[in-house]
């Protein structure tokens, strides 16, 4: 993992042609090298990753993901692509039209498998006034939509898929990657965010229809600024459910975080201590919600009560 630079990287962009030869981007604490010979992916990735700092070619990347056609014949007949990663990934070849999904899955795999200096939790995260809120949850819990939507309000978006907690400092490390939206969340977010920040929809994926959303500019400009974890909210989305916050004990929060840890098993004692510190310093609660407005109100309420100490939930 790269050490954060003290200075801000200037926001930049790259061309599809550059990506064919390989381009290295700064994505939070990681230097990620992307490469592909799939023209449509290079085109879409150069749009989706617009604004991410481009790292000089002579700097070593933390990992690379290369999305390529599975064979020459496959470029012509029912083309399929596969994501090649430093650590071999159990990712099946996907239709070429889903090359962006293959790229993001490859990055997910690499982050989970190669991060040694931070806990990697399946969680969204946001920051306000130097403190962070973490939304641990599995796929379908609504954590991505919640993080994306609140990131358009007065929160800084830190990530939607993984929340990184530095082992040494205990801080939340921003890793504002493109936001993965599924099914009805796509229309929901298209009503809130500028359309040019979305990729096309990818239909028929294993998770239904997907689209990716580029994070807000502030999230990219401040991706070197860590935050102090202050609140753990475990979201569960269900249409029509009454919104409710249910305080959660430390032991339950700990167990849930272990279950949602992408690299906890590999970190050993430092991982245990970092996770224990997280639940000992952050109040935790289950958040059940049926609409973004409900979720926003409860998150604000929880923040005011448990972090700012202003009101009672």
């Amino acid at each position: 993992m790269s050490i954060f630079s003290e200075s801000r990287h200037a926001l930049s962009s790259f061309t599809p042609h550059q990506m064919k030869g390989g381009v290295t981007l700064s994505v939070g604490p990681k230097h990620v090298r992307l490469q592909s010979n799939v023209a449509s992916l290079c085109e879409q990735a150069s749009q989706l990753y617009q604004g991410y700092p481009v790292i000089p070619a002579d700097e070593i990347a933390d990992f690379q993901v290369n999305v390529a056609a599975t064979s020459f014949a496959r470029r012509l007949f029912r083309p399929k692509v596969v994501a090649w990663t430093d650590v071999p990934a159990p990712i099946k070849p996907l239709p070429a039209r889903m090359a962006m999904l293959a790229l993001e899955m490859g990055i997910n795999w690499q982050v989970a498998m190669t991060t040694e200096r931070a806990l990697v939790l399946h969680a969204g995260s946001l920051e306000r006034a130097g403190r962070s809120i973490i939304f641990p949850g599995n796929s379908g819990s609504g954590k991505s939509t919640l993080a994306a939507a609140l990131g358009l309000r007065d929160w800084r978006f830190l990530g939607d898929e993984f929340a990184l907690v530095d082992l040494a400092s205990g801080k939340s490390l921003p890793m504002p990657r493109p936001i993965s939206l599924k099914n009805q969340s796509i229309d929901l977010m298209m009503a809130l965010a500028p359309i040019e920040r979305f990729t096309p929809r990818y239909e028929g994926t294993p998770k239904g229809t997907l689209a990716f959303l580029r994070p807000p500019p502030e999230a990219l400009a401040r991706m070197s600024e860590p935050a102090t974890p202050a609140l753990l909210l475990f979201p569960t989305y269900a249409a029509g459910v009454s919104p409710i916050l249910t305080p959660m004990g430390r032991a339950e929060a700990f167990v849930r975080l272990v279950a949602g840890g992408a690299n906890y098993d590999r970190l050993g004692q430092p991982g245990f201590e970092a996770l224990a510190r997280l639940v000992e310093t952050c109040p935790a609660a289950a958040l059940h919600y049926g609409s973004l407005e409900d979720a926003n109100a409860l998150v604000e309420q929880a923040w005011e009560c448990w972090v700012e100490g202003k009101t009672k939930v």
Partner: protein, 105 residues
């Protein structure tokens, strides 16, 4: 009914105490075993058993004596069986192990 302490299977138990990390939250105890890399959730009873083994109480009878002292309870009923069973469970988790008897050494 007082239990026959001598009827408890009498292996010596030891715990790799220096390899165990603890956290106690409410009435739940989380133990990380650095030897195995596994994390365990224990209830209060198992936690105290493990703690006693870690303190050097190696035999079931010693542990029952420790429990009755600590919690002011009578050593009766099926306490011996429960202790024996839970010690076996802790053993199966790798948190304690049977030490070789002196006669075996």
């Amino acid at each position: 009914m007082a239990i026959a302490i001598s009827s408890i299977a009498e292996p010596n138990y030891i715990a790799p105490s220096h390899k165990l990390l603890w956290r106690a939250w409410d009435d739940v105890f989380v133990v990380y075993n650095a030897l195995s890399g596994r994390t365990h959730i224990l209830d209060e009873f198992c936690y105290h058993l493990l703690e006693m083994v870690s303190e050097g109480r190696a035999k079931g009878a010693d542990i029952i004596a420790g429990l009755t002292d600590r919690f002011d309870i009578a050593a009766e009923g099926d306490l011996a069986d429960i202790v024996s069973l839970r010690l076996q469970e802790l053993g199966s988790l790798g948190l304690i192990q049977k030490a070789p008897l002196k006669d075996d050494m």
